[in-house]
């Protein structure tokens, strides 16, 4: 009883087949087949993710797709960079807008996020432009005074 128990124990180490034998070749074929099955499965998953991404209807909600990094509208960003005078301030404002854009995109979808971004740029343009023009105006007056002196 005890000898049978030891002989049929499940944790008994399986001996690896020796190279060149039929068992060895069968094992290699089995491993290759398994790898091929996994590759096909991965490819299917990848293709279905791509199909979802490029479907006609835009994704309205859900987590952002790992296939595409979150990118706010480039033209709006360019417009903001035109208005902003200082590089440091541009970095802060665009960084803040990008962070919030990603949150809104994940919650409400890309179209609403784009609309929100443009709205923020348009609303920010007025105070920022006013400030830039004021400083520009003061700088020009200082330039004239400097030239006269």
């Amino acid at each position: 009883m005890s000898k049978d128990f030891i002989r049929n124990a499940p944790n008994r180490a399986e001996r690896a087949p020796r190279p060149g034998t039929r068992k060895y070749r069968a094992r290699i074929a089995e491993v290759n087949q398994q790898a091929r099955r996994n590759a096909v499965k991965n490819l299917d998953e990848f293709e279905s993710a791509l199909a979802k991404r490029y479907a006609k209807r835009p994704r309205r909600a859900g987590a952002p797709s790992p296939l595409r990094p979150v990118a706010p509208p480039a033209r709006a960003k360019k417009l903001l960079l035109l208005i902003l005078t200082r590089e440091e301030r541009a970095t802060n404002i665009i960084g803040d807008l990008t962070e919030e854009y990603a949150e809104i995109e994940a919650e409400y979808g890309i179209q609403f996020a784009n609309f929100w971004y443009w709205k923020q740029v348009a609303a920010s343009a007025c105070p920022l432009l006013k400030k830039a023009l004021r400083w520009g105006f003061l700088a020009s007056i200082w330039g004239w005074i400097h030239r006269l002196i």
Partner: protein, 116 residues
Amino acid sequence: MKEIGREAIMGEKRDSLGSFEEIILRIVLGLGEEAYGVRIRQTAEQAMEKSVAIGAVYTTLDRLERKGFVSSWQGEATPERGGRAKRYFRVESPGIRALNYAEETRRRVSEGLALA
């Protein structure tokens, strides 16, 4: 506290606080270590129940910084911000004095006392 506020603030035009400036200053004070552009804008939007532009927030914060009410420093750059750094703000003691003075003024007016 009333006398300190009056002595420190009265007679200097640059120390006066506008209504939006006061809101932003209170938000920065309330947020503490988490006071940066996104959080300040979102909190202002919730408090005022209307849309607040990030440009308006930064223009106000710049003005408050020039007055010496807040100070700022650059934080870490994160990937969700496109590798751009955060700018954190902190209320300084002149800012707290200005808030106290604004609060005191409001209280005096609401109590109907003569300001003179």
